[in-house]
Symmetry: C2
Subunit: 265 residues, 2 copies
């Protein structure tokens, strides 16, 4: 099972749109996928037309109580399951504050879960708090969606340091599988320049053997496409809502690229 | 002096772009403006080519030490001053945790400041923590930039409740002066629908006499314009970087609309 966190502490860069649509594309292609919504805003859950916590338990109950992943999981479509979120999760940061091993709860619950998936994908909140640390301690791969604007690289360094620290102290198997260029405004100079700065950044990292020296920007760029912003208001992935759009095309291609990645060890 | 917080806990919706460009437009029109960067990411400071904290004190020193606003203030242009931020400010949340009246520090420092401005504009971080509470306790008006996408109204309710609570407990003069539609994708159905939902929301609020019953979406919409994303990489406002662009046009018009607002009491 490939266990993946979709992470960037910067808000509104395409994490949820990526987590949801890559999950949907993988499932449509026959991969068994469990999507975990680890954001109290619950946007991934809402994107797929779910509102957990009202009648079904949510990931909040999994992290703060005895609920198993299985009890909090809902079937979304063939091959696609969701462990949904709820605004109560916002309290988890405070509730878990004193608990020993509070960053390892999700990892333990995954270990106790007997279901087998090909992919577990965790959509993270725009923060580096205890919820996101749970994701980083539990998965083996991180994908970083990034909008190619000024200051994108600024936030990236801080994020990479946090990931390296978790890798060192909590999870030696953690690696960055790639940076995903999202909301890409084609044919603008800004997108081209930030992208080339990013490529240079990772070329440098590779020569210096830093903890992220195997990370790289994926070839597929997700272009700006209003259909991607419309799909959630119908509770659908882009493939249900607008299968012929550029948004669907790009996420299909991105998913193929992710599937083709060979594990690095 | 009109004291304004630019606030939305959702990330990447146009807070900094709005705070910086409205400040610049007001200053160019002869208003004396002090911009306060209350985000540890310091994007407003970087947008104007500043990197405080290295040699000059920053708003971190103002909030956690004896530094006055005057000592942390830099002149940016005619009529435009900046109290800049620094990543150290991220520690303020923790450092101020036990302090009595920790949300009122900025208000006290403003009261001790003898400089007179026509406008003080505070750029907030995407969070409702102690830094943002300092802004809400210190100002009298809140502007809420908002991207007209699905779930924009979702986050708005929570934000309005927080503002109402601060208004009730800490700052009875606090009011919401308006919602600013940013990153507006003209001629998309999504922008039109979310905007009309927003207008309906505030029409309802007006009839129910809720604490935000005088809030409304401003008529000026800030359209998506790549120039607005490019300007910060040159350390310039949109008026210096691309004075004839749609971005400059829209922020000029928004500023005129803000100037024309009559105080509600
Ligand atoms: N390629 C795209 N083209 C157009 N709109 C997009 C694209 N990707 C995402 N969006 C829209 O932009 C907004 C932000 O995207 P998204 O919610 O995926 O970001 P996020 O990083 O998960 O945000 P948060 O930090 O709040 O969790 C959403 O309204 C989404 O529908
Ligand atoms: N109207 C617009 N058209 C195109 N790009 C824009 C527009 N407004 C803002 N941007 C760009 O979008 C990104 C996010 O905008 P901005 O930094 O102003 O949002 P923010 O709400 O302050 O984000 P944060 O929550 O991180 O503080 C920036 O790269 C900015 O340059
Ligand atoms: Mg998200
Ligand atoms: Mg900002």
């Amino acid at each position: 099972m490939r266990k993946i966190a979709v992470l960037n502490q910067k808000g509104g860069v395409g994490k949820t749109t990526t987590a949801v649509n890559v999950s949907a594309a993988l499932a449509a292609g026959g991969q068994r996928v469990c999507l975990v919504d680890l954001d109290p805003q619950a946007h991934a859950s809402l994107h797929l037309g779910q509102a957990p916590g009202l009648e079904t338990p949510s990931v909040y109950d999994v992290l703060t109580g005895d609920t198993t992943l299985d009890e909090a999981r809902a079937t979304i479509a063939d091959n696609l399951w969701l462990v949904g979120s709820h605004i109560d999760l916002a309290a988890a940061e405070v509730e878990l504050a004193g608990i020993v091993g509070r960053e390892l709860i999700l990892r333990d619950k995954i270990a106790e879960d007997s279901s087998d998936y090909d992919f577990m994908i965790v959509d993270c909140a725009p923060s580096l708090g205890v919820l996101t640390l749970n994701a980083l301690a539990a998965v083996e791969e991180v994908f970083i969606p990034l909008q190619p604007h000024f200051l994108a690289l600024h936030g990236l360094s801080k994020l990479l340091e946090t990931i390296a620290l978790v890798g060192k102290r909590l999870n030696p198997r953690l690696r960055i599988s790639g940076v995903i260029l999202c909301m890409y405004e084609s044919s603008t100079r800004l997108a081209a320049e930030v992208t080339s700065d990013l490529e240079e950044f990772f070329r440098q990292a590779a020569t210096h053997r830093s903890p992220w020296s195997q990370a790289y920007p994926l070839a597929t760029r997700i272009r700006r496409n209003i259909r991607l912003a419309e799909a959630p208001s119908f509770g659908q992935s882009i493939f249900q809502y607008a299968p012929d759009s550029h948004g669907a095309e790009d996420y299909r291609q991105l998913t193929a690229e992710i599937l083709a990645q060979r594990p690095l060890r």
